[in-house]
Structures are given as structure tokens and as C-alpha cells.
Amino acid sequence: MAGPALKRLMAEYKQLLQDPPEGIMAGPVSDENYFEWEALIPGPEGTFFEGGIFPTKLTFPSDYPLSPPKMVFTCEMFHPNIYPDGRVCISILHPPGDDPMGYETSAERWSPVQSIEKILLSVMSMLAEPNDESPANVDAAKTYRENRDDFKRRAQILARKTLGID
């Protein structure tokens, strides 16, 4: 019965269980629904978001892996590449062909060769190194560019919040 998208998602889940990437936890929300995933992204050590564990939600289209999933941070975030509503804006999540910004080369974009693991790792490196060139959150990009200390302070507050420490 299972469609190609489901098969591939199950295969990726199996792979992630067998060989999980450092510090990342990800899996479908339920056994019956493999098209919604939850993932916990640790803030990389030695970066602004160090110490936090950031909950995210991945939503897969029915034609996965032909189209990329959507990814949303479900906690409060302050980051140049995350929209104020939590949506993640990185090139790996953009299908090739539509490039509103004109910044990205197609090699960085989505194709079936990418995977959930690669997305999660990309998001981790996005946390480590924000890209303020085509910001999704202009406010965050401005703070990041002009006032690193303030950015770091706000990132650390958010990181602590994810641990339930206020």
C-alpha cells in the first residue's frame, strides 16, 4: 500500500535510528503519520545558541522526496534565517527552480539526494553561522550585524528558555 514517499520516510527513519547524528533526535509524531516529524536541534557548542535544545516540526509533502519538507521551530527564535513565525529559510529547503532572492545556486537546493539528516545538520550549522544576506527576520539580521553582543544575549535567553530555565 505504502506510497513511495512513505517508503522513503520509513527508510530514513530506520537509518536515523540505526545511526543517529550527534545530538539530534528526530522521528515521526506517531506510528500512523510519518509525514509529520518532530526534531530536537541542539544549539551547537561554542555558538550563540549553545546549550539550548530547540524543538522543531517537519511537514513532508505527499510527493516527498521530489519536493522538500517544510520546517518550523516550535519555540521562540531570534535568528536571521528563521521567520518570526518559526519557519526555517535555508536553501536546502527550497526546491530548485524558484529562487525569489536569486542568491542560491541550485546545488545547495533541494533534490532527492538530500535527506532529513542533511536538513537537520544544515539547520544546526545555520544556528552556528547565521547568514544575514537574505534575512527572513530582518530585525534579527540587523542585530546580528550591528550588535553581536546583544544578539548573543538574546540567543542565550532563548536557549535557556528551551531548557525550561528562565
Binding site: 500500500m1 505504502a2 506510497g3 513511495p4 514517499a5 512513505l6 517508503k7 522513503r8 520509513m10 527508510a11 530514513e12 537509518q15 506510528d31 500512523e32 503519520n33 510519518y34 509525514f35 505527499s62 510527493d63 522526496p65 521530489l66 519536493s67 530548485p96 527552480g97 545556486t105 541550485s106 546545488a107 545547495e108 533534490s111 532527492p112 539526494v113
Partner: protein, 561 residues
Amino acid sequence: MLQISPRLRNTLISIGSLILTTAVVSNAFYQRKQFYPSIIYITKSNASMAAIYFQGLTLVFLTWKLLRWVFFGQLRPAEIEHLVDKSWFAMTDTCLAFTVFRDEFNSSFVTLFTILLFLKCFHWLAEDRIDYMERTPVITKLFHFRAVSLLTTLSFLDIFFVAYAYNSLVTRGASYQLVFGFEYAVLCTAVGFTAIKYILHCIDSLHDQTAPWDRKAAILLYTELVINFSRVTLYTVFLVLMFKMQSFPLFAVRPIYMAVKSFKKSLYDVIMSRRAIHTMNTLYPNATLEEIRAGDSTCIICREEMTTSCKKLPCNHIFHAYCLRSWFQRQQTCPTCRLDILRPRRPATAAAPAAAAPAGQPAPGGGAFPPGQFAFPQQPHFHMGNMAFPFPLPPGFPQHFPMPQPGQAGPAQLPNLTGAPMMYPAFYPAGGMMPPPPPLPPMPVPNFADMSEEDLRRLEGDSRRALEMRVAHLRNIQALLDAAVIQFTQYLSLMTPPVVLPAVPLTSTTTIPTGTSEATVSSSSTNATPSEETPTGNSESDEVRRRRLQRFQNGLAAEQP
């Protein structure tokens, strides 16, 4: 604020409404004592009527809940979301329709409209549910039972209402029944499509897991085309009839637009799919078992083992044929390396002497070139003139160059091509941005778009001529790749502190013996000539440079055997 769960709230509303109605009815009966006078009493009183209408709404809501539970059980959040979205559109469309038929607006119209909206909701939910079949690993017997009974019920109801509207139109002439008739006819197409999908999913599930039923996608594609076409036809007929009988049906503009749009999309899908299949079947060979086993035998698209029916692209990447086809419907590139599969056959048109194009720069960086880098094969067929070397190199670089057909031209001649595309990002400096490119000699951009069909055909086939042409293109690629290496070296050397190499000593290097470096140095010396015009005022630094170069040359000469 008191927090009430929606469930409790609904129960309270239902009970409240029931109490209200009972109160209204018993009050009327108490006042008038008899049945008919009581009814008249209720209809005369606005407050009583409001209570009755409210009771009607609650009843509709309860029926809805019951039927929904019978046919669907618990709704998923996505289904609810779709339902709400679509209901809003359906409501607005119908409100617009009310304005056209405002003379006929009465309670039977409201009833019919409620039933229509009701049925529409069930159609949408049915579609979502059947689509969900492909997305869940858990399909129970109950699911099948619900699906079959729901689809049967819906199709019977649709047909009944179409017939009812038709009869009404024939006997009583044009009325709002025309709108309802067409609405139900469109719903018929929807339930038909859903039923076909259900059957296809079921057939698919009976197939062996290891050998998926690869015709399903194609059948679905064509079914969608047919369904969308019939929908557009229905709307056209509706439009004509409405225009004749009443006025232009403004309320139907949105659904018609949507129907035309999805028809266009399904037509485009079919065309793209056909093109992809054609490309795959004519251009790319089936991968042999040895070829599959040679590399990673996992298909990168579905992450499953590849055994049979696999295709090999010119870049030597292998995929399941059916996986590749679904991808080609979206994009005509290799999923792994993004080689453009539709363009590779287009050859460069112009030919020009080659040696002039690469290494068009006086070598900066204190002679940082290892001797091997300049080993530029001097072949008579360098058609480099019109082949631009775009900078910075886009990762899609190989897309623009003619590719050989594997098996005929042989990957062996192009060992670096197969792996090359994946490597491009690695050439970017760590910072991510390219340094400003040095002034390159003007290199015209290749203009493959001008290729006529005939030119393309000339490249196909096994004739000597076609073979020769392909070989010529291969040489172009080689030249371009060599040029790329040189350019990259230049870029890398640009990143070290610039030390301008004087032109004068270079000419003397022509005396250096041996093969490779001779070709190398002579080509760079010709290219260096423009810089000879630089003023020779700074004699002190000139002297330093000369000495440096002398040392470098000595080193070079010492390395020669």
C-alpha cells in the same frame, strides 16, 4: 475566563437548543391547545421561529457529527484544515449565487444548499482520506469498509440529485436547480476520481513490495487529465446555459478558473511525463547488473535496492526507471549532480583556434604553477573560441556542455567528468564568496539555444560523421576542463599576496627543454605579451623580481630529467 472544552460546549449548545425548542413548542401548545393553531402561532412569532431555526441548525450539526463519525471516525488536523478552507470558498460562491436567484430564495433553497454543502464536505473528506492511504502504514479493514460504503453512498446521492435537477429543469424550466445540477455533476467527477484512486491504491497494495506497480503513476496522471477535462467541459456548458437563461454567472468564475487551472496543470504533467519517458527510453541505456553492483546499489530517490529496470544517465548515476520518471516530471536534471538531461546533446556551434582562450592571463603569484598544471594538450581540434568559460563557475556548470552518450563515446575518455560535478562546490574558497574575478580576455558565451533540430540529429546515430562530431565535442569538454583547472589555479594564486611576474624573463624560458613545460611556457609567454607594455620604471623592484624568477627557473630546470 472559564475554559470549556469544545466537546462540552457542543453538548451544552445541543441540550440548550433542545430545551429552548421544547419550551417554544409547549408554550405554543399551551396557548392554542391544538396542533394547527399552535403551528401558526409559532410561525407568526419571530422569537419562536428563531428558536426553531436554531434547533434546525443544531440538528444539522448533530447529523453531520454522526455521519462523520460513521464514515471517517476521528478526523486528522490536516483534514479539518482543508475542510474549513474549502467550506469558506463554497460559502462565498453560494452567497454570490444567492444574489442571482434572490427571487427564488426560500426555505427549500436553503435546505438544498445545506445538503449540497454537506455532501461537498463529505466529498472533500473522502478525497483526503483516500489520498491518506498512500501515506500511512496502517490500513485496517474498517478503513476499507468505510471507504467503499462512503464512495458508494456519495455516488448514488450525486446521481440522484443530478437526475432530480434535470427533471426539475425539464418540467419547470430554468431555476436555481440549474446551479445545483451542475454542482452535483462536478461532484460526480470528484467522487469518480476518488473511487479510481482508491481502486488503484488497492491494486498497488496487492503488488509485491519489492516490485512496485510502476504503471500506477501513469494511470493516475491520465485519469486526472480526463477528469479535469470533463470538469472544464461541464463548466463550459454551464456557462453557456447560464448566459442564455439568466446572466453571466459571476459566482462561478472562481470554480471555473480553478478547473481550468488544474486542467492546464494536469495537461502539463502529462506532457512532461511523456517527454521524460521519451528522453529516458531513447537517450539512456538500461543499467546492467554489473553497473548497478559496481557502485552504491541504493537508489538515491527511494533509498531502496536497485535490481532491475534501472536507468543510467550520462553522468553515470543510476536510478530506478520509475523513480527517475517521477523526478523528470518535475525537473529534467540528474537528482545527484543536477546535470541537465535535456540539453547535453546540444553541441557547440562555432569552432576557433583553441590555444588563445585558456590561460589568458599573465601568470601572477610568483610563478606558483606546478609544472603539471600547464600540461595543456595541444590538439588541432580545440574549438574553444566560442565556448565561454563562465566565472564564477556555477555548480550547474556541466549542464551547458555537450555530453557524450555513454557506451558510445565511453566514460573512459572522460574520467573526470563523472565525478566532477559534485566537486565544484569544493573549489569555492572557504569564505563562500569568490574573489573578484581577474580581467579575463573576452570569451563569448556558448549559444546552444540556436541549435536546430537538424544539428541535433546530426549528433545521433552510429554514422562516422555523427561519431566524429561527438568526439569533437568531447575534445571541447576536455579543453574546457583543462581551462577550468588553469583558471582555478589562477584564482588560488590570486588569494596569495600578489607578486607581479615580469614579462621579460618569461620569454627567455622558452629555452627550457622538454615536452610538457615547453608547450606550457610558450603559451603563457604569448599571453604575457600585453603586460610587456607595462612601464619599466621601478628598476629596483624589477631587479628583485628578476632574481626571484631566476631562482624559480633554476628550480624548474633542476626538476627536469
